[in-house]
Amino acid sequence: MDVTLRVWRQRGPSDPGGIVEYPATGVSPDASFLEMLDLVNEGLMARGEPPIAFAHDCREGICGACSLMIDGIAHGPMAGAATCQVHMRSFSDGATITIEPWRAAAFPVLKDLIVDRSALDRIIAAGGFVTAATGGAQDANAVLVPKEAADRAMDAAACIGCGACVAACPNASASLFTAAKVSHLGLMPQGQPERSRRVIRMVAQMDAEGFGDCTLFGECQDACPKEISIDVIARMHRDHMRAVWFGGEERAETGPG
């Protein structure tokens, strides 16, 4: 099949960037979307032109590196899939496809379709963990975890940190990302001692990074390749409110509001 690509090209963070058109011809419908881009890049490089830069690695939907806005939809037309899991059979022959990077103030473009998502790491560093230094753990079966809690925690923990939720959100909020980790750890008994401190710090970091607020549009859950529900955001808000009013030392440090 043949398609026409309209691709965002930007040489570096300070370059204004713009859309450039490329033909992609003789593409197998069984090729993945990224394999189609490989093909276009092979053609560019054979002519000595710089390839289209895009982030990718595992190509099986788990590492969270790939991050393309395809025709205005984060990760493209397939629900519950990362860009690397989209195949060309999802497009019609002769289609024109527009490819852009994630757009968010907190995700500056580094080059072409690659953005800087280190803000997400800093949200985790602020509190997205259980403080459990290596060595002191008791027997794993000493703490019972109800199956339902473990299953719901796993639903939230499935987040791959790709940032599609931010890209899809009209406010560029990182609420789904942050709430997924707050919920994963908040649902596990091991996460209880730091529950208040965690949510306060992670939310504060999210705000500090310049992500927008959540106004419950719900675009994030539709874009999420792991189909994480916005229920986790409700949970985060509840935890946050409880922490701010009843959270002890953290409340004194940060105060309500």
Partner: protein
């Protein structure tokens, strides 16, 4: 050459590790912050080591080429992690896990290392549970287990089909905690391009900042490589696209011996290749073999749709050949049996390079919902890629390169032949011998990172006098110059062939001549083909752009240039080892019924190759493997 000293402690097997921990020197808590340590790679081994070393008080600088330490390829491991907890009361023990691992590795691993691995396996589960890893649970709240890939006990812990992801996120979160505290200096988007050795000791690395292109140096008292395996030397593999051999290969060229490079693992259950545009292969978790039955048509050339082939015209070849293990036969054996069926002309699917993995019986027995609960995400993944519904028609699978047991040689302390250079996880030549059992890679990565290295590195640091060396030392300038020269050379060829086309061609040579079945003739051809391809690469490759920017073509070019050198060592090792063992099958060495035939009299050793300079054949050093506890037997899964 340096004689290989494995530094295995004396004493009975079960007491070696405890005794060694007591005998090793400790670093005073107040002195730990005076020891900077570099950790390269943030997969299970690297992230767990960086976090743990930092918790102990060392000054850690951690590097990864990804934009975030959470993306290392450990994240893609699906099936699970083994531990000798015996929670299922089915007869498991530390000794049994040790024995299974030694035997599964076809008696080509060091007893003492493997025993230690089994010993700490339980601590790993405890540690991960404490971090809040959402392992699968029974209704009563206890941890669930399953049996996995060739094990006759249920010792595998799992988190749906995303065990690697959840374990890695646990280690990543522990690492982020240390980064947030300012205790670990994290360098994402930074690729190690060379090792700096000063006065015979590893004292630093030279890296390229992948965003700015700047070449930079970092100095430390010890360097830890946790840079994963080299499966991508075959181009098509289940490894992530950016996995590469550069860090370990550069260390080899600076003097670290490379152990058993020909021990590569071909995983039996991958989605078959569909076309020449293909960029990587996708693994379907081995856990599928718990319920799926592997078969091909009994008759050659039978092209009927699978559901039209009656039971008595099917060949459930694993069940037939290995009645006691059946579909759970170890990876090397299952892979070879599939290849054999296809070689006989009984393969299925458009390319005829595939066998069926059929769930019809399991669905009839426990219902489609139960199968969906167990494998739902894997079935979805399969359908997404192939456009076929595996609830209705059998999956098609074929073996693919998945893991590399070979790696830099390390002693019992996980230190390479360069003092101060430690190697952990898949990057070392490891505890898996010639074949790794399912759910053991995660175990080894975390054992090394959480428990073994943090203990053993202290002995090196405490017992070594460190001359003050920083990045102004001339050795750093010299290595930086080497790195810059290589970059300039890659950019300067300005030919007309893309890097990927060379990589693809190299992969084809390796898969055909150094893949599932190897022969003297094939390997000899490969050893002529590879240097010729390398020569062509340096004459005709095109790498657009410059070195002073984010340049993915340049990154890839450097990695492929190293694969083009490294591939030769793999073939040389495969050629010299004329026995068959584990994943290394030499057609010249097989039993009458086509099983791998080991040659313990001549090959019960680790081959540790030592670099001898450009254009000179590497030196083969041998570490004899002594088996004091287990009896060497011909592996049988019949």
């Amino acid at each position: 050459m340096t004689p290989l000293d494995s530094r295995v402690p004396a004493g009975p097997l079960a007491e070696k590790w405890d005794r060694h921990k007591f005998e090793m020197q400790l670093v005073n808590p107040a002195n730990k912050r005076k020891h900077p340590i570099i950790v390269v790679g943030t997969g299970l081994a690297g992230a767990s080591a960086a976090a743990t070393l930092s918790e102990l008080g060392y000054r850690v600088q951690c590097f990864c080429f990804h934009d975030s330490p959470r993306r290392a390829h450990s994240i893609a491991a699906q099936g699970g992690i083994n531990a000798a907890k015996n929670y299922q009361n089915d007869g498991d023990s530390v000794f049994r896990l040790f024995y299974d691992t030694i035997k599964g590795g076809d008696f080509r691993a060091r007893e003492a290392n493997v025993y230690r691995l089994a010993q700490v396996s339980g601590n790993i589960i405890d540690q991960c549970a404490a971090q809040g890893v959402p392992f699968a649970r029974e209704y009563g709240g206890l941890l669930a287990n399953r049996s996995f890939g060739g094990a006759q006990v249920s010792r595998t812990f799992y988190a749906r089909g995303q065990t690697g992801q959840q374990l890695l996120l646990g280690a990543y979160q522990a690492l982020e905690r240390q980064i947030g505290r300012g205790a670990v200096e994290m360098h994402p988007h930074t690729e190690m391009l060379d090792l700096v050795v000063v006065d015979g000791r590893a004292r630093g690395i030279v890296v390229r900042d992948l965003v700015t292109g700047r070449i930079e140096s970092y100095a430390a008292h010890a360097v830890v490589l946790a840079t994963g395996g080299y499966g991508n030397v075959f181009f098509l593999s289940t490894n992530a696209r950016n996995c590469n051999v550069t860090a370990t290969w550069r260390a080899y060229k600076r003097g670290a011996a490379f152990g058993n490079p020909c021990f590569t693992q071909i995983h039996p259950t991958c989605i078959p290749v569909s076309g020449d545009y293909q960029s990587k292969l996708t693994l379907m978790s081995e856990s599928l073999r718990n319920d799926g039955r592997v078969w091909v048509p009994a008759r050659i050339g039978d092209a009927r749709p699978p559901r039209d082939i009656p039971e008595d015209e099917r060949d459930y070849f694993l069940e037939r050949k290995y009645p006691s293990f059946g579909n759970l036969a170890p990876r090397d054996i299952a892979s070879r049996a599939a290849k054999q069926a296809c070689d006989e002309g009984r393969g299925v699917g458009p390319t005829r390079l595939g066998v069926y993995l059929d769930f019809a019986d399991a669905i009839a027995r426990v219902g489609a919902q139960a199968i969906r609960d167990r494998y739902g995400n894997l079935f979805d993944m399969y359908e997404r890629i192939t456009d076929e519904n595996p609830y209705a028609v059998p999956m098609r699978i074929y073996p693919a390169v998945h893991y590399t047991m070979g790696g830099l040689w390390v002693d019992y302390n996980l230190m390479s032949t360069i003092p101060g250079l430690h190697v952990i996880g898949e990057a070392n030549f490891s505890d898996h011998g010639a074949n790794r059992l399912g759910a053991s890679a995660l175990m080894q990565g975390l054992a090394d990172g959480y428990f073994v290295l943090p203990a053993t590195i202290g002995d090196y640091l405490a017992s070594t006098p460190f001359a003050p060396v920083d990045t102004s030392h001339p050795a750093f300038r010299a290595v930086e110059a080497d790195v810059a020269e290589r970059t300039t050379r890659l950019l300067g060829v300005r030919g007309n062939r893309t890097v990927d086309s060379f990589h693809r061609q190299l992969g084809k040579i390796m898969w055909e001549k150094c893949g599932m079945a190897r022969t003297e003739a094939g390997l000899t051809e490969a050893l002529a083909d590879i240097p010729a391809l390398r020569e062509e690469f340096w004459r005709t490759v095109t790498v657009p752009g410059s070195g002073q920017e984010l340049n993915q073509a340049l990154e890839k070019a450097g990695r492929v240039a190293d694969f083009l050198e490294f591939a030769e060592l793999v073939c040389l090792d495969a050629l010299h080892r004329t026995e068959s063992c584990g994943g290394h099958f030499r057609e010249e060495s097989q039993t009458a019924d086509g099983e791998a035939l080991r040659d313990d009299a001549h090959f019960a050793y680790v081959a540790a190759w030592e670099y001898a300079g450009e254009g000179t054949a590497p030196v083969l050093n041998k570490e004899p493997l002594e088996f004091e506890t287990v009896h060497l037997s011909q592996r049988s899964y019949k």
